[in-house]
Amino acid sequence: MPEPAPGITPPTPALTLVTDAIQDPAVESRSQFRLALERFAHHRLALAGLVVFLLLVLLSTLGSVFWQYSYSTITSDFATGPSPQHPFGTDLIGHDLFAQVMEAEATSVKTAALVALIATTIGTVIGAIAGYYGKLADALLMRFTDLILAVPLLAVLLVLANKLSKQAGSWFWIALILGLLLWTNLARQVRGAFLSLREREFVEAEHAIGASDLRIVFRHMIPNAIGSIVVTATLTVALALLIEAVLSFLGLGIQPPEVSLGSLVSSGQDAATSLPWLFFFPSGFLVVTILSINFIGDGLRDALDPTQRATR
């Protein structure tokens, strides 16, 4: 059993208890942020996910800068298994797989992060406008969102990715396409949150003192909906990693000379039976990265958005 916090003496009436607590330096005030941080820290899997993810990012950044081979260097060893010289082995034409996996990890994470940034911005803005203004804006924007949702995502992705990757197969374009298509979920959530927030007293009070719409939305409503925004943004990173990997696996995502984890698995698959390291290292990194982000998302949901726990 935890001991009762110092400074709180049970028999005192409620009011003095509150003032006592405020005056007593032993009881520190805890901000919402602090509370969320503590809840997150209690979620062991989420914490583990965060540590693993940060390690992966660190390793891939350092690895692609300091490792003795670059991802495009062709060494004289080809198709060799893991060794001290090449910890992850080499591929059929002599690329050092460790250097390639590090570079690919960095590219994949970078792409997914940009997707989440774009999708979150669009989703928040569209959801906020629809939910705050309601009526016509709401009807128009939500029909637009429904249309994007009804589009078989994969078909449009294939069309666009096919077109763009042929011209400029850069991670930036792939991220842009994905970002422009993956915002619908968040837009619906933000709209829902705003529809109820705009009826609350503190928003009414802001209107009464003459605050501008922009101020109300950015200073008061978005901070109140930040929990679900952050959670959805995190899960969008995981989704973007998955989709980018699939696109690159199909040869429509990240193009050579750039490498991503999906394209590495794809180029290693023909030799997977005889040179298994070509399959296991990139796909292992892919799965661990996505898993760690899903765990972080789960922890953030518990910490920031306790009402949303039931789904998934």
Binding site: A245, G262, L286, V287, I290
Partner: protein
Amino acid sequence: MWIYLLRRLLAGVIVMLVLSFGVFILVALSGNPLAALKATPGVSRATIAAAAAQLHLNEPLADRYWNWLDGLLHGNFGSSYTGQPVGSQIAQRLLVTVKLVVPAVILSVLIGVVVGVISAVRQYKPVDHVSTGLAYLFYSTPVFVLGLLLKDFLAVDVNRAVGHTVLFTVGQSTPGITGTWNVLANEVQHAALPVITLTLVTYATWSRFQRAAMLDVLNADYIRLARAKGLSPRRVLFVHALRNALIPVITVVAIDFAALIGGALVTEIVFSWNGMGQYLFNGLTGAESPDVYAVSGWLMVAGTAVVMFNILADLLYGVLDPRIRNA
């Protein structure tokens, strides 16, 4: 009820029209199907012009769309740039996809519901932790990783251990096999790995839905009442709790199933199945791509499935939960 259905159908038709127009234009503008022909040395201008005329590439885009739509309304999907009729091709592909998707969905529902219910009833017990961990693992694993793992490692090991090929990894069937039973057995051997792949990635999400729904129901007052009345735990679980906890899951299954009609693209590609997903992929990246007619035909079938199953899901919800019907 009928008015509701009619309104939903009408909205669906409008969505399909807008979608088909958008995709038709997008695909038509995304590349030149004659690029390969143009790049071939020694092909005269006249040949290219004739090919363009044959494929109607020289006509205005709006006219081409209108002609395609006109054909569609008369039940004609047109023919693809390779000259084959899109309608009969899609019918063939649909059959292949159904052979893959239907068993996978049935298995996923069974596994998803059972695992979800056990997880909920034994919340925070070891069994729940294990199934939660597995579900996380499976929906964090890209389909192609799982597929390649089964294809390049499991199948090879199993076939080596048995001494002959038990698990086939390429295509839907071996040609030239006779006898009903032999053909059936052969198809099952081919389908096993892709179906397992699809099942593993699909059941993971559904089991989480089932667990959440079951937990909601188990904490409801009427369940406590049922227990207080002294009903047997089995009766409370299966008759009172499960029937209600299945409702949200059924809608999720219906909507996900509809999306799979459009093809389990990655699974089909890993195991070389000529299903709907492959058809779309070929139409966009194969020879003479982008093939507007193939892709638009695919979109009509896949999109219609999505629209219909969404309506079906809402209707089912109303049938299963009278509170929604009245609202």
